[in-house]
């Protein structure tokens, strides 16, 4: 219904609501523009003719040469590899650890439940600096050398809590009668889990895994405390700021952006198809 149509039928007050609605819609449009601008800049400048292998503030002409040489900086490629490796390992391990806990929290009442909830909540709410500093304190006290292993440990530690929350939400909307039906038909709990429960909570597990992967690949603060000399993609970029950013950084993050958007669109497309 348009604003003018309302004002004809019901007078001045509603005309003002119509105006407010138009203002609000305009504001939302501007806001969306604001959120997208830095991404547009990143993508545009990944195609810029930059001199001396450093991104330039001025537009100097279109080129795809940085895409053809996307992996020309060995350290950067290694760091990118570390990021993918860490995100993948953290995704798998945190989901494997979180799924049984999510089942326990959603389906049973037990004494340690309240305490578990507090620890999960604290793990999500704790600031990254504190999580990083505390893990580093532990590794320093144990004299544990920092590297890929300590990055794995740290990432799994913060991914678990998020994975538990996502999977638990999925488990709690399931009908428990399905499990009981399986048991009545003679399935052992083990068989019932793999044939009935697991397929039903799989979307939650996949969602938790994707979230864990996204959190891990993006993390800079916690990783900066526990990485030692090992660099991930965000750490490499953070370290390169002082000397100048090579255009390959924008190229790689444009590729990650495109990949992430593609996966998200496929995921929502599949969800829509399974609904209808």
């Amino acid at each position: 219904m348009s604003a003018s149509a309302i004002s004809h039928t019901r007078g001045g007050l509603l005309r003002r609501i119509g105006l407010a609605r138009v203002l609000l819609a305009t504001y939302t449009g501007l806001f969306l523009f604001y959120t997208v601008v830095p991404i547009a800049v990143m993508i545009a400048f990944s195609f810029n003719q930059s001199p001396h292998n450093r991104v330039s503030l001025k537009w100097l002409g279109f080129t795809t040469k940085w895409y053809r040489n996307a992996f020309a900086i060995p350290d950067l490629t290694v760091a990118m590899g570390h990021s993918l490796e860490v995100a993948f390992v953290a995704m798998i391990v945190s989901v494997v650890l979180a799924t049984p806990l999510a089942l326990a929290l959603a389906r049973y009442r037990f004494k340690a439940k309240a305490l578990t909830d507090i620890v999960i909540f604290a793990d999500i709410a704790a600031p990254a600096v504190v999580v990083g500093a505390s893990l580093l304190s532990l590794f320093l006290s144990l004299n544990l050398p920092r590297g890929l292993i300590t990055i794995f440990i740290a990432h799994i530690a913060f991914d678990i809590a998020f994975a538990v929350v996502v999977i638990r939400a999925r488990v709690s909307v399931l009908d428990r009668a399905l499990d009981r039906a399986a048991a009545d038909l003679g399935a052992t709990p083990w068989v019932a889990f793999w044939t009935v429960t697991f397929p039903l909570i799989l979307p939650g597990i996949i969602g938790a895994g994707l979230l864990a992967f996204a959190l891990s690949i993006d993390d800079l603060i916690i990783t900066s405390f526990v990485a030692g000399q090992t660099l991930t993609f965000p750490l490499w970029v953070y370290g390169a700021v002082k000397t100048g950013i090579p255009p390959q950084v924008f190229v790689l993050s444009t590729l990650i952006f495109a990949g992430g958007v593609l996966i998200a669109l496929l995921n929502s497309g599949m969800a829509q198809r399974s609904k209808s």
């Binding site: 806001f31 830095p38 503030l57 037990f110 340690a112 600031p127 993050s253 998200a264």
Partner: protein
């Protein structure tokens, strides 16, 4: 059975979340130096020294955190409201557009702003060449740039919980307010806003805690006058190698954040805390 299912995660979170916090607290009470190592010694003096040395950065972190959280709330509330109430069939698309920045690494997003705000960058450079701004104008290394970066990096974290809370508001209650002669403004301030309080709190928790502890925005967009407590913790761990000082500052930060969250919950009610804690 529930204990068996919980055991793996419990073990993991105990060893790599709870024990590290204890290790950090005990590190903050240790004495020594990087060459001979550190010994635990109930050395409480470190806390006084930390606050005495770095109270400026502590206060600044909480000031930046509060201001950026408030600005993010004010900027995102109308957007979340519009999508929840007037988004129609395209709600999902609008939310997806707002979440787009998540597909770009946090450090790259901040770097893009460094790029945009630099003295001869797209924004200031253009305005200067059109003669709108004097040549000397700069934004980088000011607190405006740091707070701007904090706000940009938190908008998506605030839109989501606000949207979820506003989506849950029963439309019939809003209509009932109108039927009882509340003006649209009154219906908003006295019905919709209070009902969206859980979303305001959830967003506050996410954004405030993250921003107070952040050091990346201050490092990339700020200068010597905008250092936050996160930068100081980093400096003490990696440059000064004063581990007890770094651990003490982290402990102080954690303690102050718990106090701030508690105060917020006391002022605005605790129901929403419990709702999100469980």
């Amino acid at each position: 059975m529930p204990y068996l299912l919980s055991l793996p995660s419990w073990l993991y979170l105990t060893v790599f979340f709870v024990v590290p916090l204890v290790a950090m607290l005990s590190m903050s009470l240790a004495t020594g130096n990087p060459l001979v190592g550190y010994v635990f010694s109930w050395h409480f003096v470190e806390f006084a020294r930390a606050v005495d040395h770095y109270w400026v950065q502590l206060v600044r972190s909480f000031w930046y955190g509060t201001l950026s959280t408030f600005l993010t709330l004010v900027l995102t509330y109308p957007v979340a409201y519009w999508i929840a109430f007037h988004g129609g069939r395209h709600k999902g698309t609008f939310l997806f557009l707002i979440l787009l920045p998540f597909f770009v690494s946090f450090v790259i997003r901040t770097l893009a702003w460094q790029f945009l705000l630099s003295d001869q960058g797209l924004i200031l450079g253009s305005l200067k060449s059109w003669g709108v701004l004097p040549e000397k104008t700069y934004l980088l290394s000011t607190s405006t740039a740091v707070i701007g970066g904090l706000v940009y990096n938190s908008v998506a974290y605030y839109v989501l919980p606000l949207y979820v809370a506003l989506e849950k508001v029963d439309r019939r209650v809003v209509r009932a307010a109108g039927d009882l002669y509340a003006s649209p403004a009154q219906a908003f301030w006295r019905v919709v806003l209070p009902l969206s309080a859980p979303g305001i709190f959830a967003g506050f928790l996410l954004v405030f805690v993250t921003n107070v502890g952040d050091f990346v925005n201050a490092a990339l967009l700020g200068g010597p006058g905008t250092r936050m407590v996160g930068n100081i913790i980093q400096y003490n761990f990696f440059d000064a190698q004063d581990y007890p000082m770094a651990a003490t500052l982290s402990s102080v930060l954690m303690f102050l954040l718990i106090v701030a969250i508690y105060l917020y919950a006391r002022v605005f009610g605790t129901e929403s805390i419990q709702e999100y804690a469980t």
